[in-house]
Every structure is written in C-alpha cells, then in structure tokens.
C-alpha cells in the first residue's frame, strides 16, 4: 500500500513543524527586539541631530519636523571638530601602523625560533593583555622622555597599549603558516629582513588587516590616556573633545547628538567594511588559534 506509506511521514512531520514554526516565529521576534534595543541609541542621535534645540530637549524618538543641517555647522565650528578629527586620525592611524609593524616583526621571530629565551620574551609581552596601565607613574616616564602633552607621546603610548594583543593574535596566526615556505626562501638566499618583508608580510595579510582594524577601532575610542596626558585642548582627540563639549552644551541635545554622529561616523565606516575581518580576529585567540 504505497498510499499509506507515502502519507505517514507527511502527517508525522506536520505536527512538530507547526510547533517549530511557532517557536521560530518567537525566536525571530526576540532577535528583532534585541537588535532594536542595540540600534535605538544610534537612531536617537541621528534623528535628534537634525532637530531644533527645543524639539531635541527630550531626546525623543520622533522624526524632526524640519531638517536642521546647520546643527552640524555649529558643532564643527564650536566644537573645533576639524582639529580634533585630524588629531584622532593622526593618533589612531600612526599608532595602529606602528603597533602592527612592531607586533609582526616581534611575533615573527618569537614564533619561528622558539628558544627558551624567546618563549619568555613572548610571555613577557602578552601578559600585558592583563596588565593595567599605571597612569600615575606613567606621568613620570612621560616627563622623563619629554612626551607629556605631545602628539608623538600619544602615538607611542597608544601603540604600546595595544601591542600585547597584536602580538598574541599574529603569533597565533603564524602557527598556520607552514615553515617550509621560510626554508625555501632561506635556501634561495633570503636574508632575515627580506624574509620578513617579502614573504611574511604578504602571507600574514589576513592577520595584520584584522589586527589593524581592531586596533584602530579600540584606539579611536580611547579616552583615558588623553585625559591624563594631554592638557592643551588643541591636541585633544574627538573622544575627549566631545566629553568637554557635552559639559558645556549639556542641554542642547541636538548639538550633542550631531557631535556624537560625527565622532562615531569613522567607526561605523570601518565597522561596516571590516565586518568579515573582525570576527576572525576576535575569536582567533580565544577559540581557535
């Protein structure tokens, strides 16, 4: 009786599939609600950045009656945003490049030649992931090296701050690069410097792009170091500037919102375009290696 045999599994499948589709509907609703909660603050600053001062006072979710683009003009002028934007770019870009280069060259030799000394040096570097910065005595070091309140000082500090994580991720990635490649290059007469620049840097591309993106994102958000070590406001990055701007214009939520939008814009751009690199980097150390 082919008829029954055909129908039986269909009947059996239908019952749980109703329950399953209900459960899936609930899951989708929950996921959508969570995403909404995660996105609301960004939505709020965008709509309120285009409202009038009075309209934006409750920082509500309603749409602006008319689009006040001039809020952005005001913020850029009053908040000296051009200057602070340039500062942020200088600090984060130079520090990221410095950090990635130093981390790559260190991870390269420490991972490839694992002598007892090199293992110790590696441990010494990566323990920094857990070490809190001692800002108080760091001021003494900054004074001794004449880096207090200088842009160079910020770049060097930012880079030093993110080095342990960068070394950790690149070191882990190096395990997946076969050492045969090195051997072939060495037999062909590659000197260490050539081996690094011509062979390792291209092979490590996924690793340094990922580390570069994560370092950039973290450093763009950095607030504590400039708070301690930059006294002149013309050297402030956007984070410190917005904190100060918020102190002055606390009641003008339209202006504060516009400032927030401009501060997070670079982060959002890097986030969207760096998507696929971010996850692999974050989970590299913690999960796979």
């Amino acid at each position: 009786m082919p008829d029954v045999a055909d129908r039986a599994p269909v009947v059996r499948r239908r019952k749980p599939s109703v329950r399953r589709s209900v459960r899936r509907g609930v899951n989708h609703t929950v996921a959508a609600s969570v995403s909404l909660v995660m996105f609301i603050p960004i939505y709020l600053v965008v709509v309120n950045s285009l409202k009038t001062d009075a309209q934006a006072r409750p920082m509500g979710a309603g749409l602006p009656k008319e689009l006040r683009w001039d809020n952005y003009h005001v913020v850029i002028e009053e908040g000296k945003l051009a200057q602070t934007f340039v500062n942020s770019v200088i600090y984060t870009v130079f520090a990221t490049v410095l950090c990635v280069l130093l981390a790559m060259s260190a991870a390269f030799v420490l991972a490839r030649s694992r002598t007892r000394l090199n293992r110790l040096l590696y441990l010494f570097l990566v323990i920094g992931i857990a070490m809190p910065v001692n800002y108080v005595t760091l001021t003494k070091v900054m004074q001794a090296t004449h880096l207090v309140n200088t842009q160079l000082g910020m770049i060097v500090l930012y880079a030093a701050f993110k080095l342990p994580f960068a070394v950790f991720v690149i070191y882990a990635f190096l395990h997946t690069v076969p050492v045969d490649i090195d051997e072939a290059a060495i037999i062909d007469g590659c000197a260490p410097r050539q081996l690094f620049w011509k062979i390792m840097v291209p092979l490590l591309r996924p690793a340094w792009i990922t580390v570069g993106i994560l370092t950039f994102l973290d450093l763009w958000s950095e607030f504590i170091m400039p708070l301690y070590f930059l006294s002149s406001s013309d050297k402030w990055p956007m984070t410190l500037a917005i904190y100060n701007f918020f102190g002055i214009y606390e009641s003008s939520w339209n202006l504060v919102s516009a400032d927030v939008v401009l501060t997070i814009l670079p982060v959002l751009v890097v986030f969207v375009f760096g998507q696929r690199y971010i996850k692999s980097g974050l989970t590299a150390g913690a999960v796979k290696g």
């Binding site: 030799v109 090199n118 910065v133 090296t145 913690a286």
Partner: protein, 301 residues
C-alpha cells in the same frame, strides 16, 4: 599539524634574529612594565604634588586604602560588585544570544550578529552621553516608555538614586559589551560537531539536556576565557562610570580607577599609586591564568 615546528632549519637563530622583537619589547617595557614596577616603589613613599622629597612611609598608603568606611573601601566594593555583576550578565545573556542567532533563527542571522556586536565598537564616552539622556528621569525615553506601557511604578532616577546607579551602569555596560562575548561564544558553539546533538536527540534528550550535557561542557574552555576577560575588563572599569555618574551620587558608584584619577588630580600621587598597585597584582595574576587557558585551547585546536 601543518609542519609548523621550526626545528628543521639549522641555525635558526641566524634567520630569526631576536633583535626583530626589540622594538615591541622596548615600548612595552618603558610604557607599561616600568610604570607598574615604579608604582610598587612609589606606593611606599609620600610622593605628592606638594612634597618634592619622597620619604619612605611603609604601608601607610595601603592602610588608608583599606580603611573601612572610606571612599576607597567603597570603591573597591563597588568594583568587585560591578565586575561580578557584569561577568554574570554578559556571560548569561551572551550565551542566550549566541544560541538564539546560531540555532534559533535561520534567516537574518548575520544581520543580527552584526547589530548586536555594533555597540562594542562605539566609544564608551559616546555611549555614556547617549544613555545619560535615555536614563534621564524626567525627559528620558526609558521612563517615558515605562509610563506609556503602564509600568510607571518601575520608572526611577536611574543614575541619581544611590541604590540603583551602580546597577544602571552595569546595564549600560552589558548593553555595550554583550555582543563581543556573544561572538566569542558563537565561535565556540560552531566548533561543536552537529552529530553530538543528533545523537542526543535520538536518545530522547530535550533542549535542556542538550545544553547541560553537551553545550556547556564543550564550551567550558571558551567560557573560561570569557570569564577571565570579563574579570579583567570589570576590574579596570573607568570611562562608563566617569561619564554616567562621575562616581556619584556620593561615593555610590566610585570604582578603583575613578578614585585613582581623582587622587591623581588632587596631587595625592602615592595613594593613587598604591591603589593602582593593588589592581596590578590582582589583574596580572588573573592574566597568567588567562594566558594558560588560551594556550591550552590553542594546543587543543
């Protein structure tokens, strides 16, 4: 596994000169390690803005740190509370979200992952400013929402009530950080073979059994890493507190690092150094565990 053992190259030290690591080592040493060691020394002195000569005072600074009823003792308690609370909320919610987006839904999973992770990349200082408006008791949309749905009794002075303020900061911090934890746990979940679940289902296991007997045990290494990362993050918390409450009302939300900054700003450098040193010892010890846990996993993979 990939022949990554570098033993075969003869005279490898020549091809991998240690001086390639000197740049990184120098920056790390000068700006991170040396200040920490100096901190131990200065925490035993009377170093301050007002006295150029630093005398040795023994453990006096530590005594003032641990004196009960003081702001600093309160700050230590708050820091421990904050750390414990965020460790729980981020891990539990992060795990639920990871299960939801990997198993619970089929479509839009990538989209939800990205949106849930998004707050993690925003500067805390900006997040704090926005939440200050959302949590405003009279004009903020949170109380507005609670009133609108008839839960007026729940609306509160989120950041100015001494009993609630610290938990509000925990909530904001969880909102920001839970996506990162979710991503870590997701990677762990994806490394569990599907066959285990199929076998369990054939044996009649329900969803709770699967969680208890398969998911959690196999996720243990990742959970260890997540726990230590949350611990390290919580102990040094500064910017979310600084922008949301500035440590207030009173000392209600003061943390170790807000006090470190305030004592520093007041010129009490040695006290600040003592408090930093306490943090240094605790976190570096935890860090050794973290590195061991991470390497154990790398070796397993």
């Amino acid at each position: 596994m990939h022949g990554a053992r570098p033993r075969r190259v003869p005279g490898k030290a020549r091809h991998y000169p240690t001086y390639f690591s000197f740049g990184a080592l120098a920056l790390h040493l000068v700006f991170i390690v040396v200040p920490s060691i100096m901190g131990i020394y200065y925490s035993l002195t009377s170093w301050s803005r007002y006295s150029s000569d630093t005398e040795f005072v023994g453990l006096d600074n530590y005594r003032s740190v641990f004196r009960s009823h003081g702001a600093m003792w309160q700050a230590i308690k708050n820091t421990v509370l904050f750390t414990g609370a965020t460790m729980v909320t981020k891990t539990v919610i992060g795990l639920m979200l990871a299960l939801l987006v990997s198993r619970g839904i089929r479509r839009f999973s990538t989209f939800h992952r990205a949106v849930i992770y998004l707050p993690a990349v925003l500067p805390m200082i900006v997040v704090g400013i926005v939440f200050k408006s959302i949590l405003n008791p009279s004009t903020g949309i949170l109380n507005g929402f609670l009133d609108a749905v008839g839960l007026h009794s729940l609306s509160s002075r989120w950041l100015t009530d001494t009993h609630i303020a610290l938990y509000s900061i925990v909530a904001v911090d969880t909102w920001k950080g839970v996506g990162f934890i979710m991503l870590l746990l997701l990677a762990g979940l994806e490394s569990i073979p599907r066959e285990y679940y199929e076998a369990a289902r054939i044996d009649g296991a329900n969803a709770f059994d699967e969680l208890r007997l398969i998911t959690l045990p196999l996720l243990k290494p990742v959970l260890t890493v997540v726990t230590v990362l949350n611990l390290l993050y919580g102990l040094k918390i500064f910017d979310s507190v600084w922008v949301l409450t500035n440590g207030g009302p009173g000392y209600a939300t003061e943390t170790v690092n807000t006090i470190v900054f305030k004592e520093f700003a007041r010129g009490h450098y040695a006290v600040s150094a003592a408090l930093s040193t306490v943090l240094f010892v605790v976190m570096t010890t935890a860090g050794l565990f973290l590195i061991r846990a991470m390497h154990r996993q790398m070796d397993d993979a």
